[in-house]
């Protein structure tokens, strides 16, 4: 939904996490994105590629892992994951569930080329 500003934010975080003279070595940024975060991965990839053009990060790419929605049942305590927006416990069918994951946007790692070769 707001992928361009999310891409800008990712670049800001990379810029502040990697030493300036090593930005050209960044080859991959690993992201974990929850299905409930409303982020469109294609659109994020496009936005990212457009912004890093002509910058030291131009050779880097995003590697996106989608995280399912994680729900915990308040009745039977079971934890399950789902790819659908269905909010009831698959085990006991109770609708009393808490969403405990699936709305995150996490930069899990930043990968740099090995300078020695």
């Amino acid at each position: 939904m707001h992928e361009l500003s999310i891409a800008q934010n990712i670049i800001q975080i990379v810029n502040s996490s990697v030493e300036k003279d090593k930005l050209g070595l960044v080859e991959m940024i690993a992201l974990k994105i929850g299905l409930m975060s409303n982020v469109l991965t294609d659109s994020l990839q496009f936005s990212y590629a457009s912004i890093v053009e002509n910058t030291p990060l131009k050779n880097s790419r995003l590697d996106i892992e989608l995280l399912p929605i994680k729900i915990k049942c308040n009745d039977c305590n079971e934890i399950n994951t789902t790819n659908d927006f269905i909010f009831s416990c698959p085990n006991c069918k109770s609708p009393a569930i808490n969403v405990i994951g699936g709305d995150e946007i996490i930069i899990s790692s930043i990968h740099l080329k090995d300078e020695s070769g």
């Binding site: 707001h2 975060s37 409303n38 927006f85 909010f87 709305d103």
Partner: protein, 185 residues
């Protein structure tokens, strides 16, 4: 602090007017209102003699915490028991942006159709309360309150649901009582 969310035209400003009518004098209510353009809503709320700040987003479809923080500076010296943020009318993006609120409240009017909770699940999942407005129009529309409630509960079982009409004031009291209970917490 309440973050009030809905489609455009569901009655956010009307609900605030009714709420202020009911509670003002007993509590100090302030308001921050977001719109893409115009300060019409702030003018409306201003007539109620409560502190109000208008945020014009110039095209942006939701409020962000930073905008609210900056707007709040204009009223921070006022005594405030309850701060209501009226978000930009939109059931999509505002669901993803926390403003520092205690509760999100989503407003849905009977004219919008009863499948909206299923179409915009994140909004209904992230809210603590659902206010169903315009129940005075039920005889003239195809949606049913029971169906809205069923769909909303399937997305979020814990939703507190209020049925009311800002036009006739029916149901306003229950909603205000819930707000009062939240303020006690």
């Amino acid at each position: 602090m309440i973050n009030l969310l809905s489609s455009p035209g569901s009655g956010k400003t009307s609900l605030i007017e009714k709420t202020v009518e009911q509670l003002n004098g007993k509590f100090n209510i302030s308001m921050i209102v977001g719109d893409v353009q115009t300060d019409n809503d702030a003018m409306r709320i201003g007539k109620l003699n409560i502190p109000v700040v208008q945020i014009i987003t110039h095209g942006s479809c939701h409020l962000e915490a930073q905008l609210v923080r900056d707007a709040f500076k204009k009223i921070e010296d006022e005594p405030i028991d309850l701060l209501i943020i009226e978000n930009v009318g939109n059931l999509v993006c505002p669901a993803g942006y926390d403003l520092g609120e205690d509760k999100k409240v989503v407003l849905l009017s009977t004219t919008e159709g009863d499948d909206k909770p299923l179409k915009y699940p994140a909004m209904f999942r992230n809210s603590s309360a659902l206010v169903i407005n315009k129940i005075d129009l039920l005889p003239y529309v195809n949606s049913s309150v029971e169906e809205i409630k069923k769909n909303a509960k399937s997305i979020n079982y814990d939703l507190n649901i209020f049925e009311l009409s800002c036009k006739t004031s029916e149901g306003i009291e229950d909603w205000c009582n819930w707000l009062l209970n939240q303020m006690k917490k």
